[in-house]
């Protein structure tokens, strides 16, 4: 009987010690591990100091096909547009939230990555995409090549996109208030682009794109209130008195939603206004 035991012991011993090899790990780093590498210039330094160090936000302006819709024709941005765009982002999006929500707010509800693209993304249905948000932490900004600080329309359009996308990130963390569901449900449609903004306003929606889904409605309302501003919102209501109740209810819900996040929405509005004035002066 013991013989079996010795035999088994020997076998186990053999297995444990038999094949000791000294594995040497390769010293050569894996190519591209930790991101692409290039010689930094002044622009890279600016982005590193203002976005990576304080908030760990990566600003990718150099072309990377895997960050965007890879089967679409897109182009990288012009280098001289990158800094103006990011300065605007800082003044009109980061600084207001930092001031009202505190330094930690943007660390808690964070955008981790900005990807800049020079052109718009053309869709099969003839519309173009100006910005997208993904997974609650990445924003792709299109049409960077058309940007100019002194062009107020262009600044408002781009910042509308950013506040729109950031609001997506907020509601991907804290859900949209239930009461929102009942307000404009009958108007949501996949073919929103057949409606003009004026027609949408008549239906109680702030823009045509707000008609696409409840989420878009919510974030369009937020970004319009912030970027186009309260005056614009009031003017839309004045032009469509029949929808006043809907618009005012949406406004209330937005203010309440931000309160839940610990932000005074009214103060945020005025800070954004200051930021836009600062940039476009």
């Amino acid at each position: 009987m013991y013989r079996y035991a010795y035999f088994l012991l020997l076998l186990v011993f053999g297995m444990l010690t038999g094949c000791k090899k000294t594995e040497v790990l390769p010293t050569e780093p894996i190519n591209g591990l930790g991101g692409d590498d290039w010689t930094f210039n002044a622009l890279d330094d600016y982005l590193y100091e203002n976005f990576v160090i304080p908030y760990n936000i990566e600003v990718k302006y150099k072309w990377d096909p895997y960050e965007v819709n890879f089967n679409r024709n897109l182009v990288p941005p012009q280098e001289n547009k990158v800094r103006p765009v990011m300065e605007t982002v800082k003044a009109v999006w980061m600084d207001p939230y930092k001031k009202i929500g505190g330094d930690d707010f943007l660390k808690k509800y964070q955008i981790l990555k900005y990807v800049l693209v020079g052109s718009p993304e053309y869709q099969e249905n003839g519309t173009v995409i100006l910005g997208t948000a993904e997974g609650g932490n990445k924003i792709i900004l299109f049409v960077v090549n058309y940007f100019a600080k002194n062009n107020r329309t262009e600044v408002v359009r781009m910042m509308h996109t950013i506040h729109h996308e950031f609001a997506h990130i907020l509601h991907q963390t804290i859900a949209i208030p239930q009461a929102w569901r009942t307000l404009s449900s009958s108007w949501y449609t996949a073919t929103w682009y057949n409606t003009t903004n004026e027609q949408a306003n008549k239906q109680g929606l702030i823009t045509a794109y707000a008609k696409s889904t409840m989420q878009e409605d919510f974030v369009e309302t937020i970004s319009t209130l912030l970027v186009e501003g309260q005056a614009h919102y009031d003017a839309v209501i004045a032009a469509n008195p029949s929808q006043e109740a809907t618009f005012r209810r949406k406004e209330e819900l937005v203010v309440a939603y931000y309160k839940e996040l610990g932000i005074d929405f009214r103060k945020l509005q005025s800070e954004v206004k200051v930021g836009i004035a600062l940039i476009t002066q």
Binding site: L10, G32, P65, F70, L74
Partner: protein
Amino acid sequence: MKYIYYYLVVLIMFIQSCQSNKDFDGLRPDERLNKQLATYYDQLASAENGWIAYLFPDAGGGYTFKFYFDRDNRIRMYADYDATTASVAKESSYRLRAAQIPSLYFDTYSYIHMLADPDPQISGGDAGKGRYSDFEFSIVSASADSIRMIGNLNKSELLLVRAKATQGENFIQQVYAFNQQKLADFDRFIYYYNKLTVGDHTFQFTLNRDLKTVSFRGTGAIDSITFFTEYATTANGIRFRTPLNVGGQQFDVMQDFNLNIAAGTGEFTLGTVHAKLNNQASVLTRQPQDATSMYMVKYQYFSATGFFMAGQTDVHKLQDIPGYAGIRFIPLRYVDGTDVFYLFYNNGQYYIGPAFKTQIDAQGIMRFTNFIGFDGNSSGTITQDIADRITAFTRSALDPEGFYVYRTGRTGYDLVSVKDSRVWLRFR
């Protein structure tokens, strides 16, 4: 006793199991990749006179660039699109990346991106697609003095050739001037037909500056070929996208042009072989099926200039019409088989043109007959001047003797008057 066998088995296992067979002693994949990228990087940056690049987008045409790569991921480039891009260098960045195949990325915007820009105002191509061009390229093959690449998205072709000391900063200006002056001469010959003689081979030759293509049609029994390819311009000639094969020889450049418009003759070097050109009135060769294919293949055709006549471009002076935006031939404009030529003016907003029926006979002659009348979208805006010009154009186009059709590229066709070979019309 029988346990001894077990011990034996274990013993054999000990001996056998630990034979480490070192069958790999090369470099690891990452090491090889890094080494390869470093080699390419060094090759690109080490060319002190830069690189001449020929780009062939998938939508057609050929473009010439001059690239200067440095060791800090920066690149300066010139392009032969227009006088400005040819003379003012634009700086941007580049990097080499380990994609599926080691790739060269032009990773911030420069001249090369304009062809790929999805905005049709910038690229002159389709909305959302541009000219189906690229700015990230897989390196397919490389020798000391040339690198061949394929676009990762649209499969456009890029060929880099190391520049010589004589091909300096103003090289692209020379290219642009060559295109504007020398190549334009091909549109100034009296007749449409060019007979090209290379040794004992003869071809009917066409150079289409609009699409940047050349076409060779063999005329003898030994040369029964039809060959067309895109070209890119060099400082003293053109370079073909795909080489021409004649009698076992391959030709990929045409240079040292010496054209005599008045005499209707020309000489140049095809590859390394001397070639002769004679402009002549009579047809050399024809392919009747070109007419049918033109009618069926595309929904509409565009002509920038209207009729050529005896070496004169735009003989009806259509380009003087305010906001002139080209002539379009739209086969099957209406369901009843009525076709139209539309002249676009006021920056393409308005159009006017004759409606007719197209007949193609067994000889491949295209005739525009059964004139129905003029069709337009804004009759109030038609001045007497526009009416006169479109009438003159219509008279030429609806010539009862019709046109021979020659294909000049993937999407290009020339219509040559049967009656008078000095009169022709170029469509793309």
